[in-house]
């Protein structure tokens, strides 16, 4: 490659700058690595309001623990001087206790913590090993889990009938309980009444599921916690766990999670218990304040040294909510995707609709999903081709004609969105503003290209654009790339240097090797 001198100077300078900064930051980060790798992160605040009694007033609730599914940090308890806070073990769970000495006063206390969670998928073997001794409590009946009541017994046996594997049996129990209509029932629903009323909330369903499982000899228990979504809420949640080959496997028969625990499930306690207990007869109110936090998988934000890294990264922008993580990622990926397209165009030699359009299309596909997005894209392009036909023959000017096809396209897409939402067809309703615009522009570009280059060449360009889109999509799908780009924005300097080198590339493109093959093949000469 033929590169002038001052050019080399800039290249080497930029490279050194970028590499030095990256090495420094990586070094700091590697000392404070966050090995947990959370999928989601939330800031949760319990808030309790109460009027104290004449005697000591107490409030008790379960506090979360660290486990392979969740990491809890930054616990903070805020309360007036008259309130005393302590924690205590309650079997396998931890309880927080607030005790207030003051009499007949209105008090408020809060407890907040940062939750990082990751989704867990469990594979179930066809048949389970016999359970070990010492966990018989998970097989016995309780007041609300009537394992041996005759309706439970009959149902359990009939659900197992004809199924010869443990996994199949569990699936059959799960499907039955999942199919029970769900209803927000506030009063206590035990296993038998959930069955008899044929409607239940999370509590009723998990009790019934546990009862059925225990009846057939599978150790099972109730889990309690909160489903985290950006909101202020008062509802807690319950699901079930089965002991399979030494592991407690989660099942949520209300939301249909079979052997799967989503990342936003906050686990608080095991056992069939109420989340909050307080002195009887007092005025009491509460709420859970849940705020979603943007998180980076690589970043252990508690460590002091990490701040030195984040100070020279773009993470601050996300934390201050100046820009959403997704939009920032989009922005940063634009140059990288552009470089990939430039490589494809100048070295491989494919033709694409512009440089950044393939990058943007790939982004829209991230939102719609690859196959659905691609199908929609092709449909739209065919559609524009078809509807612009009659307008072509009317001899309209180019620009107004484009406006017509764009308008029709937007109408069709919004119509699709409407049907998607009203009939619950997710792939139809996946078209948000951004993909709509990008797909529309690309379709327009294609119809323009047909006019300029003819149908055959335009189709060739379209297919090659889709190839570039595929490559960009693969690039975007690399896990953790967003974190790397946000933490190391100096990588963009390397994009510039790479583009400078590529910009001086005078070799034949790969497609030209094919085109000029008769002249390159020496025996032909």
């Amino acid at each position: 490659m033929n590169v002038p001198k001052q050019f080399k100077f800039i290249l080497v300078g930029l490279c050194l700058l970028a590499v030095a900064s990256i090495v420094y930051k990586t070094n700091l980060l590697s000392k404070n690595k966050d090995s947990f790798g959370a999928d989601e992160s939330y800031l949760i605040t319990y808030r309790y309001f109460f009027k104290t009694d004449t005697a000591k007033t107490f409030i008790k609730t379960y506090l979360p623990k660290n486990n392979p599914h969740q990491q809890i940090s930054g616990q903070k308890s805020v309360m007036p001087n008259t309130v005393h806070f302590s924690t205590s073990a309650d079997g396998p769970n931890i309880k927080g206790n607030w005790i207030c000495e003051a009499q007949n006063t209105y008090e408020s206390v809060s407890y907040s913590f940062l939750f990082k969670g990751k989704g867990q998928v469990f594979g179930l073997p066809e048949n389970f090993k016999p359970h070990p001794e010492g966990i018989e409590t998970y097989l016995s009946a309780t007041e609300n889990i009537q394992v041996f009541a005759s309706p439970i017994d009959t149902l359990a046996k009939s659900l197992r009938e004809g199924i010869d594997s443990d996994k199949g049996t569990i699936q059959s129990l799960f499907n039955y309980v999942h199919a029970i209509p769900s209803a927000p029932i506030i009063t206590l629903t035990d296993a038998v009444s959930a069955l008899e009323r044929n409607e239940a909330s999370c509590n009723g369903k998990s009790r019934l599921f546990v009862a059925l499982a225990r009846n057939l000899g599978y150790p099972a228990r109730i889990k309690g916690g909160i489903i985290l979504t950006e909101s202020n809420k008062r509802t807690s949640h319950a699901w079930a766990e089965l002991f399979v080959n030494g592991v407690w496997v989660p099942f949520d028969a209300l939301n249909g999670h079979f052997a799967y625990l989503p990342a936003n499930y906050l686990e608080l306690h095991e056992g069939d218990a109420f989340l909050i207990a307080h002195s009887p007869g007092i005025q009491f109110d509460y709420s859970y304040e849940i705020r979603k936090q943007e998180s980076l998988p690589l970043l252990n934000e508690e460590a002091k040294e990490v701040e030195k890294v984040t100070a020279f990264s773009l993470w601050g922008l996300v934390r201050n909510k100046s820009i959403s993580k997704k939009n920032l990622f989009l922005l940063l990926m634009l140059p990288l995707g552009g470089l990939v397209v430039a490589l494809l165009r100048n070295i491989v030699g494919i033709r694409t609709f512009g440089v950044f359009l393939p990058v943007l299309i790939a982004f829209s596909l991230l939102e719609t999903g690859f196959t659905v997005g691609l199908a929609l894209f092709l449909f739209l392009i065919l559609f524009v081709g078809l509807i612009s036909r009659p307008f072509d023959s009317m001899g309209l000017l180019h620009t107004p004609k484009l406006v017509i096809s764009l308008t029709l396209m937007v109408l069709v897409m919004t119509l699709g969105n409407y049907f998607g939402v009203s009939f619950g067809i997710t792939w139809l309703s996946s078209l948000t503003l951004f993909p709509t615009i990008i797909l529309t522009i690309s379709a327009e570009r294609f119809s323009k290209l047909i006019v300029e280059d003819g149908f055959q060449k335009a189709t060739g360009t379209l297919l090659q654009t889709l190839l570039a889109v595929g490559v960009c999509f693969l690039l975007f799908s690399i896990k953790g790339l967003d974190a790397i780009l946000i933490l190391f924005p100096e990588l963009l300097l390397l994009v510039i240097t790479a583009s400078m080198v590529l910009g001086r590339y005078i070799g034949l493109r790969w497609t030209e090797l094919l085109r000029f093959q008769p002249l390159l093949n020496s025996k032909f000469a």
Binding site: L397, E452, G507, E512, L519, L520, S522
Partner: protein, 287 residues
């Protein structure tokens, strides 16, 4: 190692788009001058100013209000060509000839003044040039020399000469075929015929895939055929190259039956297929 991956056996000095852009177009053609070649009206002005042989310009219409008066001045002509200054792919070009009854005809059919006005209006509105407006050029209709008909007698054939800093590097003759719908472009199924610049003779015929010694629609041997006026054409190309502030050009010429070689148009981004036609890379013509 990187070098080895990209190293290609290239004994004939074939250049690709990357090298064409970096070594031929960017250093030799300034972008601000592109319009002199891209706009047919502007290029014709330069050709006329320098007394370079080309089709006579009958009229230039850039406003709809001028159409009627300018058209009435042209009624003495027996034939003419109407084209958009910035049209692409040969679209919007109409050849008009007077019939025996004195009525204008297009492709053998009578055409009314209103139809002609409508066509000129479309050109000015930019219908053929992907823009919001354009200029309409009306010029003399060139009658191709019998030399072209001896090879293939339909459509619009032309010579292309590539020049760098006024020096002709390579040339070819582009011919329509029965499959190319009157067009002479290689990628529209036309054929390219190589030119031996030293002797002024034609060489092999290339149809985009294979080489032969005759036009696909004519069994007569073309290879070795003498080109009339060849050295006049080379001189004309050199003169044209000097007249433009662009140093790397693809110059298109035709030979008129009566007037001899004429410049048709100039291109700032001439294609690279000419290398295949001549079985020779452009790089090797530089030394």
């Amino acid at each position: 190692m990187l070098r080895n991956i990209f190293r290609v056996n290239n004994p004939k000095g074939v250049i690709g788009l990357n090298r064409r852009n970096i070594e031929f177009i960017y250093p030799h053609n300034q972008r601000k001058h592109y319009t002199l070649a891209d706009d047919k009206v502007k290029s014709k002005m330069i050709l006329h100013e320098n007394n370079i042989a080309c089709a006579r310009t009958y009229a230039i219409i850039d406003r709809i209000s001028q159409i009627k008066s300018k058209w009435s001045e042209l009624q003495n002509q027996q034939s003419l060509v109407i084209k958009p200054a910035r049209g692409c792919g040969g679209e919007g070009i109409k050849i008009l000839k007077k019939g025996e009854d004195g009525q204008w005809q297009s492709s053998g059919r009578n055409i009314t003044d209103n139809q002609i006005f409508q066509h000129i209006t479309s050109i000015i509105s930019g219908l053929f040039s992907m823009a919001s407006n354009d200029v309409c050029l009306i010029e003399e209709c060139i009658v191709p020399h019998s030399f072209f008909a001896e090879i293939y007698d339909e459509g619009v054939p032309d010579f292309r000469i590539i020049t760098l800093k006024g020096k002709p590097l390579m040339a070819m003759l582009r011919m329509p075929t029965s499959k190319s719908d009157g067009k002479a472009n290689l990628h529209q199924k036309g054929v390219g015929i190589g030119v031996n610049m030293k002797y002024g003779t034609l060489t092999q015929v290339f149809d985009g895939k294979n080489y032969s010694n005759h036009h696909p629609d004519n069994t007569a041997r073309v290879n070795g055929k003498k080109i009339p006026y060849w050295f006049t054409m080379v001189q004309l190309a050199k003169k044209t190259a000097k007249a433009f502030p662009l140093e790397y050009l693809g110059i298109d010429l035709v030979i008129d039956k009566v007037k001899g070689p004429q410049i048709m148009e100039v291109n700032v981004r001439p294609g690279l297929g000419i290398q295949l036609v001549n079985k020779c890379g452009l790089q090797s013509t530089l030394s």
